[in-house]
Structures are given as structure tokens and as C-alpha cells.
């Protein structure tokens, strides 16, 4: 597949990591430039540096990290031609289907090739993946990609509607993965493609429950067993620095605040008495004391003690009160994807009656 060398070479496909939201593939072509809002780079400058290097832009506008492609980075960087599969589903499907070095696998459809890359990596050069895509333009794009990524020997890509026309191999594969709108139409075909003499597995990927119910029924009718269904997700956590506010400090601050207001009120009374003698009009600020216990309406004028820096309340004391210790805590990120697809799995066990004594 991709380069295993320590250093980047001309012709390598690399992953350019600019930010978490901006991750792109790049074919190193000396003579070409890379321009982004994080600066201007020459491909030639990247040749010979070790993979994983941080590189500053030529115009000082930012930096990039030059990474070695992996199927996981590719999933984050690839051009989307369709909805794609992500890490949690890919990893779980691979594990349940027991895809490993030397496995023979079928996938339909190819889509944007996110799953294909991961399978090719996992089965290695002694395994094989038959990938089917019914959309011709997408199939051609994917074929190009696989070839560019040095996976042409591992992946055979066929442009074909497998629901109608079936697969191109028989009694050959260890596992079948169907990401189709109507997987039930491909299940009998899949059964033919699976190896007859050893236990084999299938996975159907369907976003809706109605599809699952129909798939389960079709799998059952075709003699698949141990039918089961899973959902898996990756819940990213966000890290916060948390400190619990000490309540005793709040109490002291509130007491002082009230004393200050009371002092001010007494001062106002004294001033008013004096003003009254001088027959001056009463000012608005005179009302502060009376307003204090009105609720709700006066909220804008109320001062939250958390809005007051320590210095305002008591300049002397803040130094004595150590600020509370912060702890790193985490919680599930609020914008987690809550559903991708239902993963329906089943097994096919070898049952040729001629070989089994009963």
C-alpha cells in the first residue's frame, strides 16, 4: 500500500493535517505548491523530511503536519462520493467478520472506499478483496484510487449491480459485507460466494430498522444462523478544567457586600437629611436600600458575587485565599453522532450432509 519508508519521497501520497477539521491527502509532486489559509508550501520542501514532521509555511501564516497515510487518516481525508463508514463501524465489522491476514472478502458497494482501504490493510498482500459498485463513475474513481494507493493487487473492483447480477466468485470468500439499500436481494448471491467447507460470516449495514427486519428474515430463509444485530458508536469526550467554588468565600463576600450597601444607605440617609434641610430634590440613588429586596424585576442591577473580582470586595484578603485547585474532568461531547447504522451479522456453517456423519 502506502510508503513504509521513514522519510517522505517524491510520488508518495501523504496526509496533510492542518487542523482537526482540515485533513487532506496530497500526492508529493516536486514543482507543485500547496496553498491554504495556513500558508504556502512547496512540495519539493517536503521531500526527504521524516513522516510526522511539523512544517512551517514559507509565508509564516501557519504550519502543517505531514503524516503517513493510514486507512483511519484516509477516512478523515478522503473525497466523499457517498455517505462513508467510520472507525467504530469499520473496526467492529472487521472484528466480528474475523477479517485478518489472508482473508478473502467481498464488499458491496464500494462507495467512497473507506471500508475498502481498511480491509486491504488488514488482509495484507496475501488476502484479497472483491469490491462491487453499481454506480459507474464512482467505480471508476475508486479503481483509480486503489491503483494510485498500490492496492490494485489486493482489490478487484467490479462495476456491477450485485442485487441483479450476483458476484463474480463462487465458494471463495470468508466474509461478505453488504452496504446496499436492499441487502436482502443480494443474500442468496452472497451465500454462493462464501466458502462451503469452513465457517463464514456476513454483515449487512442498514440505517433503518425496517431494513434490518427484512434482512433478518432473508438471512434466516437462506439458512444463515446466529443472526444478531449490533449498533456501535464512538463517543468522543471533551476535557474540561473544573474547580469547585468554595462556599465559605461566597458567604463572606455576600456579607461584606451587604455591609457595604448598608453603609451606603446610612450615608444616603445622612445626605438626604442634609439635602432636606437645603430643600434639594431627591436623587434616584436614594432608593437603593428599598430596592434591594424586590425580586426578579431588579435583577439587572444586582451584582453577582462571581462578577466581582476579589480585589473589589476585599483587596487584602484574596491573596490569603488560595484559588481552588483545578481538576481535569471529561464528559461526552454534546455533538456526538447518535446513530450510524444497524449492523446485522450472521454465520454460515458448513453442513454438506455427505461429509457429516449423524
Amino acid at each position: 500500500m502506502w510508503s513504509n519508508a521513514r522519510d517522505v519521497a517524491a510520488g508518495d501520497l501523504v496526509i496533510i493535517w492542518q487542523t482537526r477539521e482540515l485533513i487532506q491527502p496530497l500526492l508529493i509532486t516536486p514543482g507543485k505548491d500547496l496553498n491554504s489559509r495556513f500558508g504556502y508550501y512547496r512540495h519539493a520542501d517536503l521531500v526527504g523530511i521524516p513522516y510526522g514532521s511539523k512544517v512551517g509555511s514559507r509565508n509564516g501564516k501557519g504550519f502543517i503536519h505531514v503524516l503517513r497515510p493510514t486507512p483511519e487518516l484516509w477516512t478523515m481525508a478522503l473525497p466523499h462520493r457517498t455517505q462513508i463508514l467510520y472507525l467504530a463501524d469499520i473496526a467492529f465489522i472487521t472484528s466480528w467478520l474475523d477479517i485478518k491476514r489472508g482473508s478473502s472478502v467481498i464488499e458491496a458497494g464500494t462507495g467512497s472506499g473507506s471500508f475498502s482501504h481498511s480491509v486491504a490493510r488488514t488482509i495484507g498482500s496475501v488476502g484479497h478483496l472483491w469490491s462491487y459498485e453499481f454506480h459507474e463513475a464512482r467505480a471508476n474513481k475508486a479503481r483509480e484510487e486503489f491503483s494510485l494507493h498500490g492496492m490494485a493487487d489486493i482489490i478487484t473492483l467490479t462495476h456491477r449491480n450485485v442485487c441483479k447480477d450476483g458476484f463474480t466468485v463462487e465458494d471463495t470468500v470468508d466474509a461478505v459485507f453488504l452496504d446496499l439499500p436492499a441487502p436482502w436481494d443480494a443474500i442468496e448471491h452472497a451465500k454462493k460466494a462464501l466458502k462451503k467447507a469452513s465457517p463464514t460470516r456476513i454483515c449487512c449495514f442498514s440505517p433503518c430498522m425496517e431494513q434490518v427486519l427484512r434482512t433478518v428474515s432473508a438471512l434466516n430463509d437462506s439458512g444463515f444462523t446466529d443472526i444478531t444485530m449490533f449498533e456501535t458508536l464512538l463517543r468522543p469526550h471533551e476535557v474540561h478544567q473544573l474547580s469547585l467554588q468554595p462556599l465559605t468565600q461566597a458567604v463572606e463576600k455576600l456579607k461584606k457586600l451587604e455591609q457595604k450597601r448598608e453603609d451606603k444607605r446610612q450615608h444616603q440617609i445622612a445626605r438626604t437629611s442634609k439635602r432636606k434641610r437645603d430643600d434639594l430634590p431627591e436623587t434616584d440613588t436614594d432608593n437603593v436600600g428599598g430596592k434591594r429586596l424586590r425580586t426578579q424585576e431588579s435583577a439587572e442591577e444586582d451584582v453577582s458575587i462571581r462578577d466581582i473580582p476579589d480585589a473589589v470586595v476585599d483587596p487584602g484578603q484574596s491573596a490569603n485565599q488560595p484559588s481552588p485547585i483545578k481538576t481535569s474532568v471529561s464528559k461526552v461531547s454534546p455533538d456526538v453522532r447518535g446513530h450510524t447504522s444497524y449492523l446485522t451479522f450472521a454465520r454460515l456453517v458448513p453442513t454438506a450432509p455427505s461429509t457429516i456423519r449423524d
Binding site: P246, L254, L257, L293, T295
Partner: protein
């Protein structure tokens, strides 16, 4: 438009809230995008809801909540409620549509022209669809999706949303969950039930969740009962969440008092209560002011007396302050067998608190729970969990206030020392805890039960 000009806007059974939209209400409207927004409805004023349009507030006043309207000029037309449309499956797939070709068939200018000429939204959509080269080739599902997206963009309809505590919490959670400390509607409902909030009950609340907790308790009291909330500001804060509830203010004043962390201290004498002799017998104006001050002082002193009298049914906390300190201040006012419910956006503060509380015989069975909620789309043929109802809804610690009797706790601690050794070997110790654990696990009865009693009385916990 006058659906029912109900002059008595309150329910006969629960006069606390109007059942129809009244002048002065802040009303949540659900816009075509699915988003909800709050708008003030004042008699004779105009309500303007951005791109969707504007209308006279009087059109809504007196209506029950929950209707859907279309704006026609400045008038509102009530729409029939929409039912789910069956989507016929067809043989069409996206097989023959090339990516990138599925583009906007009308230019923006054309659309603006149609809109200005008063063409109905559904007609614009139809026009767009007709011009869309590939529309008929797409699957019915893709079509439906496309239609909905377009409808959201050009529709001039909205619905009023009843200010139930569920809807208000949901609105805030979507709008700014930080300001309500991640309290999701499910979490809030658990808080209320765990604290046994009911009409006639008496509660203490510490609410730094923008008034969500206070609003929810008041809603559940329905005008009958008592709530004292403790705040960290000089005067009771204006709770933004409460604005949307449209409670009757006079009833709120009757059942809700507020103290702050200073005035809630028994050993503290608030300045307002210090009668100053120099202030008596001045002008009329001065006397009115003094009366006001006297009333305020009375309210405060009454609230203090009421708090200090104790025997509250439950204590509910959603606060940034150290929960242990809060408990040390307030637990004395909770009656025997009363509930303590503490909410936090993070598990860590509750975890630390729990490991302290279980050493304290005043707290029975302190347990931490995380709420979990999942919403589904249930369109025909397309049932699946929505893509974005995961994330965090906060954590709760629940315990029951009890009266210890040190003489009652003499239980053999043989088992305990064995367990302690095992835990030391493993490098950690654990306690499993939940209000519901008794029916999810089937422990070896005798053992588990004895271990449990041990764990209630001393610092050693049974293995999870």
C-alpha cells in the same frame, strides 16, 4: 380569529398557569427549521419572526397552545395538523445519478422573484422539483429528504409550543445546554421524581441552572406547597428559564422565597434587620420608604425563620459550589427520610462526594446515576435513532437523609477485613450502587445483604 375567547384563562383545577396564550406571555414558536424561539406576545403589538414573516399578536391571544399557523400577509391561518406521509418504495435508485449533478435548478434570483410575486411555498418547491433533471431518478427517500429541506427553507408556517417544563427544558438544552448545566429533560424529570416533588411539598433548592430547577419545582407544586431557593447573589436573580413558563406572578410570590448564602446563615444578622433609631418619624415620603424597607425585612426574616424551622421534604442542588459545603450548610433543614438530589455536568465531583457521604451515617445509600436518552425518527419505512441525541445529560447523586443510631450498628466486621485485604491487593476498591440495582443483579442473597449493611455503617465497601 377567535377560537375561544376564554376570559378565565386558567384551568379550574390548577390556576397556576393559563391554558391559553395570554397577552404578556413569552411564547415558544417552532419555526420551519425545527428550531424553537421565544417571542413576547403583547396585545396589539406585532410579532416578527424573521424570514418567516410577522403578524399581529392578537391573532394568537386566547388560542390554546400547540396549533400550527401559516402567515398570510399579517393574518394567521390555522393549519390542519400534518400526518406522516407514506413513502412508496419504487424501483428507482441513485444508481444513474452522477454525483455533483443534483444541483439547485432555479437560480436564487428566480426564487426571490417567485416569492415576491406571492407564489405559495409549496409551488416554489414544485417548480424546483420539476426543473430538477434527476428528480424522477432518485429514490423516494432521497426525494422526501429533498422536499423537506426545501420546505424548511420556503415555508411560512410555525407552531406554538406549550410551555410545559419538558418543552422549556428541551428548548434551553438545544439552545445553550451550558447555561442549564447539561440538565436534559430526562435528567430533570428524574431529579423531580427522586426528590418526590409534589403539590403541597416543601423543598429547598440551590439553582445555578438559570432557574430551571426552580421553575420545574414551582410547576410541580402547581401553586400548593413551599420552595426556598438559596442563591449566591445579593437579591434573587431573574431566572431566564422562568420567563418562558408564564407562571402567575402572585402565586409564585406566595409559594417561593429566596435567601442568599449569607442570609441563610443562622449566626448572621442581616443589616436590613438592624432597626436604626435615627430613622423614625420623618417625612411622609421617608415613612413610605421605611415601610417598604420594613416589608422587605419582614419577608427576609420570615424566609429565614422558615428555613431554620427545617423538616423539608427534599434538597435539590445544581451548583458550581462545593457540594459537600452546601450539604454541611443545608442538610440540617432536611427532614428524616427526605431526599437529597445533586446534579453535575461531570461525574467527578459527585464521585468524590459519594466517597465521603458513604462514611457519613446521615446519608443512606448515596448513589450516582447518569441519564441516557435516545430519540428516534419514526417516519414510515425509515425508523432509526436520530443522528444527534447522544452526548451528555448530566449526572445525579441521590441519597436519603437518615438519623443515625450508633448503638444500632454493631455488626461483625470479619468479612470486612477480608475484603479490605483483597481490595488492597487489587489496587482499588469499589462499591456498586444504584436505586435499581436490586433487580438487575442477582447476588448471592445472604452475602450481598450482609456486606451491604456493613457498607452502610463503616468505611468499607463491598466489591462491585
Amino acid at each position: 380569529m377567535d377560537i375561544s375567547n376564554c376570559e378565565d384563562p386558567t384551568s379550574a383545577l390548577n390556576p397556576f398557569k393559563a391554558t391559553t396564550i395570554q397577552s404578556g406571555h413569552t411564547v415558544l414558536l417552532r419555526l420551519p427549521s425545527g428550531e424553537t424561539k421565544g417571542f413576547k406576545v403583547e396585545k396589539d403589538a406585532t410579532v416578527s419572526i424573521g424570514r418567516v414573516g410577522s403578524f399581529r399578536a392578537n391573532e394568537l391571544i386566547g388560542h390554546p397552545y400547540g396549533l400550527t399557523y401559516e402567515i398570510r400577509g399579517k393574518e394567521l391561518a390555522v393549519q390542519s395538523p400534518r400526518t406522516l406521509q407514506e413513502v412508496e418504495e419504487t424501483d428507482a435508485t441513485n444508481e444513474l445519478i452522477n454525483d455533483g449533478e443534483f444541483v439547485q435548478p432555479l437560480t436564487l434570483g428566480e426564487i426571490e422573484g417567485l416569492k415576491k410575486s406571492g407564489v405559495h411555498a409549496s409551488d416554489i418547491i414544485k417548480a424546483q422539483i420539476e426543473q430538477h433533471a434527476n428528480y424522477s431518478m432518485k429514490t423516494e427517500y432521497s426525494k422526501e429528504k429533498y422536499k423537506q429541506r426545501k420546505e424548511a427553507k420556503y415555508s411560512k408556517t410555525f407552531s406554538t409550543v406549550e410551555p410545559t417544563i419538558y418543552n422549556v427544558c428541551d428548548h434551553w438544552f438545544k439552545k445553550d445546554q451550558n447555561r442549564i448545566r447539561d440538565i436534559r429533560p430526562d435528567t430533570l424529570s428524574q431529579i423531580l421524581n427522586l426528590a418526590n416533588v409534589r403539590p403541597g411539598g416543601r423543598y429547598i433548592a440551590v439553582d445555578e441552572a438559570s432557574g430551571l430547577l426552580v421553575s420545574a419545582i414551582l410547576e410541580r407544586l402547581g401553586g400548593e406547597g413551599r420552595l426556598i431557593s438559596i442563591c449566591d447573589v445579593d437579591s434573587p436573580p431573574a431566572y431566564p428559564v422562568m420567563t418562558l413558563m408564564n407562571f402567575r406572578k402572585d402565586i409564585v410570590t406566595n409559594i417561593h422565597s429566596s435567601l442568599n448564602w449569607a442570609t441563610a446563615q443562622e449566626d448572621y444578622t442581616p443589616a436590613v434587620a438592624q432597626e436604626s433609631s435615627s430613622e423614625v418619624g420623618k417625612s411622609e415620603r421617608h415613612r413610605i420608604r421605611l415601610d417598604k424597607r420594613k416589608n422587605a425585612a419582614d419577608t427576609l426574616l420570615n424566609a429565614r425563620e422558615e428555613l431554620f424551622a427545617g423538616e423539608y421534604d427534599a434538597l435539590l442542588i445544581a451548583s458550581d459550589y462545593d457540594p459537600l459545603e452546601i450539604l454541611q450548610n443545608l442538610i440540617v433543614y432536611v427532614g428524616g427520610s427526605g431526599s437529597i438530589v445533586i446534579q453535575s455536568p461531570f461525574s467527578q465531583p459527585l464521585t468524590e462526594l459519594q466517597s465521603k457521604l458513604r462514611l457519613d451515617p446521615s446519608y443512606l445509600a448515596p448513589s450516582i446515576t447518569e441519564s441516557w436518552l435516545r430519540r428516534y425518527q419514526v417516519l414510515p419505512g425509515r425508523t432509526h435513532p436520530t443522528m444527534n441525541t447522544s452526548g451528555s445529560g448530566g449526572f445525579l447523586l441521590h441519597a436519603i437523609k437518615v438519623y443515625d443510631d450508633p448503638n444500632a450498628s454493631k455488626v461483625s466486621s470479619h468479612r470486612q477485613s477480608k475484603r479490605r485485604k483483597k481490595e488492597a491487593d487489587e489496587g482499588y476498591s469499589s462499591v456498586s450502587q444504584t436505586l435499581e440495582s436490586h433487580e438487575t443483579t442477582e447476588p448471592e442473597e445472604e452475602d450481598a445483604a450482609v456486606a451491604d449493611q456493613i457498607s452502610l455503617t463503616n468505611e468499607v465497601e463491598p466489591a462491585g
